[in-house]
């Protein structure tokens, strides 16, 4: 059972998705919904043993599975998780469960296809986090685009076609260059696509720089980092609520994960050499995109920009090289960034869901169309208050832990990095709370708002689960940090080595 836990985590949702797909037309929509819920629930439950059975003192890969896949190209079906990836598999399966619930009533056309797309995507994302073979990773990483493309394009808003094509092409551009990079590394390593083999491989500075460019395109687009972030606001605004939740909560994390798994260990010298660039781009994301978020009039766009800004914090944490010799990654910063990734998974999913709840009732995302919602939806307003606070990084919420750790790490490396990064606490609070004030507080603004009904049981359940996650992680983050600790230390060691000689 434990031998192929990861395979289960990958293939169970995919098979469930295919079964849901088989229910066919919308006549069977209730069956499709229940089947999807069961599939998502079971898929989530099988990922739990990944946490309970995880050996926190072991930094290497666990739950590994290895089978030859394409022998003529020496591609293996090699799976495994370590402290860097394990939590994301669980987070992903958890989010998919919420997404299925979130689309329960809202999605009325092509229900089976909608549910199936999310389930299949969930399996593919798990695959990308668990893959230890570069081509296997690439296959999952790319294949994931197909369901997301359809989700945005079929169930999206008015400009869905533009947004979905832009999303697809942007991501593909980066990943195709990565493919060339993988093939190049395959030859350098003497015919292996194993990520571990790439990590051991000596590489010249020139080669590392070229590879860094290729990897940067793939992962920076996915994160997204400034200036390749422009697909994200479009995709988020047009995507259905569930699509936005998965995009923000999970797929962005894959980009950041790519930096951890590929860039830092495979290209340590180039990472150190160009850390200043990564830090600069991250800080631009934090500060500039934070300001951009301030002026948005569309709630979803505002949260999308807030995501970019928060993810800037994550990449900032990854490239904090300091220590006595200046080649030591700061462990506070890296762990903080990882915590921030998970916390942002909860918070962004919650924020997008909150907007979705209002959108389903009023059919507008414009801040100006709202006002005084709290008068009509008190329960909803209190939940959203919590998430808005978490998004601004209030202590005792999960948003605080990661940001605080990254800032702590940054202070040790360079005081000014920390100062610039810390502005996120101000901007984050400003744009989130200002939006909250305009939408929720004040007099009831118009007839639409006056007719609002408070959350139903299903929505309450989703909000409550997310609220528990946000508060739990904020009050007691140790269960999250202790599993990543050993792997982070290993990563720091790998990134401190040189591959030049």
């Amino acid at each position: 059972m434990t031998g192929n836990l990861l395979s289960l985590a990958i293939w169970l949702p995919i098979v469930a998705g295919l079964i849901v797909l088989a229910t066919g037309s919308d006549k069977n929509a209730p069956a499709a919904r229940w089947l999807a819920l069961m599939g998502a629930l079971v898929s989530f439950l099988v990922t739990i043993p990944l946490y309970t059975g995880f050996d926190t003192f072991h930094g290497g890969m666990q739950f590994t599975e290895m089978k030859p896949w394409v022998e003529s190209l020496n591609i293996n079906y090699h799976l495994g998780v370590d402290g860097l990836s394990m939590l994301f598999v669980i987070l992903n399966s958890f989010t998919t469960l919420l997404v299925v619930l979130a689309g329960w009533q809202v999605i009325q056309k092509r229900v089976a296809q909608y549910m199936a797309a999310f389930l299949i995507m969930s399996g593919l994302i798990n695959g990308a986090f668990a893959a230890m073979d570069a081509i296997l990773f690439y296959a999952f990483f790319e294949a994931m685009l197909i369901p997301m493309y359809l989700i945005i394009g079929v169930w999206g808003g008015a400009r869905r076609v533009y947004a979905s094509v832009k999303f697809f092409l942007y991501t593909l551009l980066g990943s195709l260059l990565t493919l060339v990079a993988f093939v190049y590394l395959y030859y350098q390593s003497g015919g292996s696509f194993e990520i571990a083999a790439f990590q051991r491989l000596p590489l010249t500075m020139g080669a590392q720089t070229m590879l860094l460019i290729a990897f940067f395109f793939a992962f920076a687009v996915k994160v997204p980092m400034w200036p390749v972030h422009t697909w994200l606001p479009d995709a988020h605004v047009e995507a259905p609520t569930g699509g936005s939740m998965v995009l923000a909560a999970i797929t962005l994390k894959l980009g950041a994960y790519g930096f951890l798994r590929f860039v830092l260990p495979i290209l340590p010298d180039a990472s150190r050499e160009y850390a200043w660039l990564m830090v600069t781009l991250s800080l631009i994301a934090v500060v500039y995109i934070g300001m951009v978020a301030l002026v948005q009039t569309d709630m979803k766009k505002l949260i999308a920009y807030s995501s970019i800004s928060h993810m800037g914090f994550v990449t900032l944490g990854f490239f904090m090289f300091g220590g006595a010799s200046g080649n030591q990654l700061n462990s506070w910063a890296v762990e903080g960034a990882l915590v921030q990734m998970i916390s942002h998974g909860f918070i962004s999913a919650a924020m997008f869901f909150c907007v979705g709840v209002m959108y389903d009732r009023v059919h507008s995302r414009k801040i100006a169309d709202y006002g005084g919602v709290a008068n009509k939806m008190p329960i909803f307003a209190s939940f959203m208050m919590l998430f808005a606070m978490a998004n601004s990084g209030l202590p005792a919420t999960s948003g605080f832990v990661g940001e605080f750790m990254v800032i702590l790490g940054a202070v040790q490396v360079n005081f000014w990095y920390a100062v610039a990064g810390a502005t996120t606490l101000i901007f984050g609070a400003a744009y989130t709370l200002w939006m909250y004030k305009r939408v929720l507080f004040g007099e009831v603004a118009n007839q639409n708002v006056a007719e609002l009904k408070d959350v139903n049981k299903r929505e309450f359940l989703i909000l409550a689960v997310l609220a528990i996650a946000v508060l739990g992680m904020g009050l007691y983050p140790a269960p999250f940090t202790e599993v990543m600790h050993q792997s982070v230390n290993d990563l720091i060691w790998q990134a401190s080595q040189t591959k030049l000689n």
Partner: protein, 486 residues
């Protein structure tokens, strides 16, 4: 000449195909339109038997026949199997299309079989004259097939264009071959190779010959800048014939090029490599960029073929058995993909309605979710998205190109693939995001629907396990290159 050196048995599939085609031709004269299905079934049976004969005659050892004119080696065997499958798919998918337009006649069957015979001869000949005969047999049959629909102006124009440009290319090729003969004193591929390697050839003349030969090959591949005929012929020809042009002949031309470039002229690899590089890059570039602006799906697939052939040339120019295997794998994958794409186009067409505009695919997901998914598989496979077969085809090519140290070429290839992804995505967009204008059900026969489904699912299944096919083809290439009869 003795019977042993004649060794005609190794050419049994071709001999059978010829006899069966003549029989079908004769029989067809005496049956009425109502009984046309008889010859149709006979045609399919002929293909099946030819397939079985090729399979039974398959040996890892290359064997010569007809006093050294004809060579049956594993490459030729597998290329023939791919061609037979490609031609069979044309007839199966095209049946209801042809019936609705009065094209379901004996000419369709016999000309298709003759073109197949030509392709098989192309795949197995090791003498320039025999190669040329095969090429002409294939080409002339296809020219006539393009004009099969006599009432259609577009078809007639396409056939004329194809014929004139095809004849020009054949002339180029023949001119090149004659110069090569002047340079090496032989028309036999192995004698030419030997003369070049022992320094007996006149190098200047041989390089001139290569220019003309590559031009001729470029035309047959449809590589830029010799691609002018492709879009017009694809658009003008009846869709089954477009499918025929897009599928099986690519395998024939591939083996044909392998014989000429890799077996006869391998000593001049540095010379033709540069030429192929130009053709490959231009094909990928122009094919992919121009495809974006097309509104006619057949024309779009025409430009897409051009870009795919660019990829095939990339593998060829590596000039090593690994490169040839990668190209071979690409060609076989491409035959499956293009057959599937045209199959869907024909599935949507009916009497008086061609379904050849991209808009005609609108809302296919509402009309038939199953075939929308099948077309989705095909498009993503063509775009090279994992986990479909097309991804591994592209990966195999990239692998050999990078292995040769041509990383910039690999980067160019992937950048153009990215541009290409756009128009494949547009097809998916039209099928899934737009509402159906035309609500009529799909009326193709169940045989076509079943085979098309298998065809498309194969793109996914082979994507999951590409290993078998990949090994089969690379073994075929290495066996063919190590077991040359000289």
């Amino acid at each position: 000449m003795t019977w042993t050196s004649l060794n005609a048995w190794v050419a049994a599939p071709e001999i059978f195909l010829l006899c069966a085609t003549c029989a079908i031709l004769l029989l067809d004269l005496f049956i009425s339109d109502a009984k046309r299905h008889l010859t149709y079934v006979m045609t399919l049976a002929t293909l099946a038997i030819t397939f079985a004969l090729v399979l039974m005659g398959h040996e890892p050892q290359a064997r010569l026949a007809f006093n050294g004119l004809y060579l049956v080696d594993p490459i030729a065997d597998f290329a023939k199997l791919a061609m037979i499958v490609g031609v069979a798919l044309v007839l199966i998918y095209g049946r209801s299309y042809a019936m609705a337009r009065g094209l379901f006649r004996g000419e369709l069957f016999t000309l298709t079989l003759f073109s197949l015979l030509g392709m098989m001869v192309m795949a197995s000949s090791v003498n320039f004259l025999a190669l040329y005969v095969g090429l002409e047999l294939m080409s002339l049959s296809v020219y006539a097939l393009v004009a099969l629909n006599r009432e259609s102006f577009a078809s007639t124009e396409a056939a004329m264009k194809y014929f004139v440009l095809g004849a020009l290319a054949s002339g180029m090729l023949l001119y090149g071959v004659s110069m090569l003969y002047g340079s090496t004193g032989s028309l036999d591929i192995f004698a030419v190779s030997h003369a070049i390697q022992t320094g007996q050839a006149n190098n200047l003349l041989a390089v001139f010959a290569i220019v003309f030969i590559v031009t001729g090959l470029g035309f047959k591949f449809g590589a830029v800048p010799f691609h002018m005929w492709v879009p017009d012929v694809y658009q003008g020809a009846p869709t089954p014939i477009t499918q025929l042009i897009a599928s099986a002949p690519k395998a024939a031309v591939f083996v044909f090029s392998l014989r000429i470039l890799a077996q006869a002229l391998e000593g001049f690899a540095p010379d033709w490599r540069g030429m192929l590089m130009v053709l490959a890059v231009l094909s990928m570039g122009l094919g992919n960029i121009t495809a974006i602006s097309q509104t006619n799906i057949k024309r779009m697939l025409g430009y897409s073929t051009i870009s795919h052939m660019g990829f095939v040339l990339l593998g060829l120019l590596v000039a090593s058995p690994a490169g040839y295997s990668a190209s071979f794998f690409y060609v076989v994958s491409y035959i499956l993909m293009s057959a599937a794409a045209f199959g869907v186009v024909m599935l949507l067409s009916r009497q008086g309605f061609e379904a050849d505009q991209i808009e005609d695919l609108k809302g296919l997901n509402q009309r038939s979710p199953w075939f929308a998914a099948m077309m989705l598989f095909t498009m993503f496979s063509m775009a090279g998205i994992p986990i479909f077969l097309g991804f591994f085809a592209k990966l195999a090519i990239l692998k050999v190109v990078v292995d040769m140290g041509l990383v910039p070429l690999a980067v160019i290839a992937v950048v153009f693939s990215l541009i290409g992804a756009f128009y494949y995505l547009r097809i998916v967009k039209v099928m899934y995001f737009d509402d159906a204008v035309d609500q009529s059900p799909l009326i193709a026969g169940n045989d076509a629907k079943l085979v098309l489904s298998i065809n498309c699912l194969l793109l996914l299944v082979l994507g999951f396990m590409p290993d078998g096919l990949m090994n089969l083809l690379s073994d075929a290439v290495s066996q063919s290159f190590t077991s040359l009869p000289y």
